[in-house]
Subunit: 206 residues, 2 copies
DNA sequence: TGATCGAATGACCGCTCGTCCAGTGGCCTG
DNA sequence: CAGGCCACTGGACGAGCGGTCATTCGATCA
């Protein structure tokens, strides 16, 4: 049973993290100030420091929280399917769906890919956020490796392949978020899946 | 004939822009200060303001200058080849070669993809830098469209395809720059070209 | 109901950084 | 060689940031 204080505490943390994502989505990582996040959350600046040590921890925790949700979805997508084609389709569906439901998170996601700031800031980012990407890429690379071992696909460097596909799909998501009216989610998933599997060249009918 | 003043002026501009790229490559966009750029260029802080209105113009001009070189290379790569496969191969070679020769530019290139900062800053970026990406993507999309018209490749949304491929290849370049010892440039070009054309699925030998 | 508590506040501090400008010294000209 | 010109300098300045802490005040309890 959660005590009343715990519930209030969790609620505050959640409110502040939501505000953080919205402000970063609006202004970008560098221009998102503590003051504006506080205003957005409807609390005073000092209050944020009761829940997070400093700006860096705030951003990091906010990122972790949303990223974990995404990774869980992708894990499930991988586990629930057998054939590579189905896995890819499920992963892409999960990714598109997640970012369409969490638009504000996308900007933060993009910002933390590339390390910014001073050496010290970079060190902490490398320790916390970048591994999440690397793990994710390696996880996808492992899926591809399995498919290669089973002879489902051609043998190439799986890590490079994973990188290419993940960044390519991120570009499609970014485009979808920019478009006033995107095509059906399923259409983009189909487009990407078939491109990944068969490329663009016309197939000689076997 | 250039006057002596013009030569000196150009030299200064070039020196400062080179320094700007180096510092941004080292520290990242947000942490690159005018003071450090000035030190790197071997001039005083104030001198920079004799050649550039403000920090924003400095960054923008630096970006434009390098970006134009890249675009020229890609234009040449497209014009010099007939078949789509050759065009893609040439474009990828040009891109990899350019960034391997201009490592410092890559960080700036990545930073300006996503708008950062205040609304005013964003407006200027949208007007100057983002169109360069969009144009580049549209240019590549046009190449793909032509190949579709000629029946060389399957008909899909060319703009989405262009986005996917451009971002995917950017990820490979980023990985190459991170690696202490990258594989041969030609290997990565071959990998990407064959992936783009044929995907990963084993081809049924026709 | 009065005493107590601690979560929330926001004025404040120290600092960094972009920008400005009064001063300087090397070069060109008459 | 004298004198003016102007490219260059670098300290001064103020805006605006993250982070602190003395103060406030509604909830809680004896």
């Amino acid at each position: 049973m959660k005590s009343k204080e715990e519930v209030v505490h969790e609620f505050r943390v959640q409110t502040i993290q939501d505000a953080t994502m919205r402000v970063i989505a609006r202004k970008g990582m560098a221009a998102a100030t503590i003051q504006e996040i506080a205003d957005e959350a409807g609390v005073a600046k000092g209050t944020i420091y009761l829940y997070f040590r400093d700006r860096e921890e705030l951003v990091e925790k906010t990122f972790e929280c949303a990223m974990t949700q995404l990774l869980d979805r992708i894990d499930a997508a991988i586990a629930a399917n057998e054939k590579l084609e189905d896995k890819i389709r499920a992963i892409m569906t999960a990714k598109l769906g997640f970012f369409s439901a969490n638009r504000e998170f996308f900007r933060l996601y993009l910002s933390l890919r590339m390390p910014e700031g001073t050496a010290a800031t970079q060190r902490r980012q490398r320790q916390h956020c970048q591994p999440r990407y690397r793990t994710r890429t390696e996880q996808f690379a492992a899926v591809l490796q399995q498919a290669m071992d089973r002879g489902e696909i051609r043998a190439v460097d799986p890590y490079r392949l994973a990188l290419f596909i993940m960044e390519g799909s991120t570009a499609i998501i970014l485009e979808r978020l920019k478009e006033p009216a995107s095509p059906d989610e399923q259409d983009d998933v189909d487009f990407m899946t078939s491109f990944i599997l068969d490329g663009v060249r016309k197939r000689s009918r076997s």
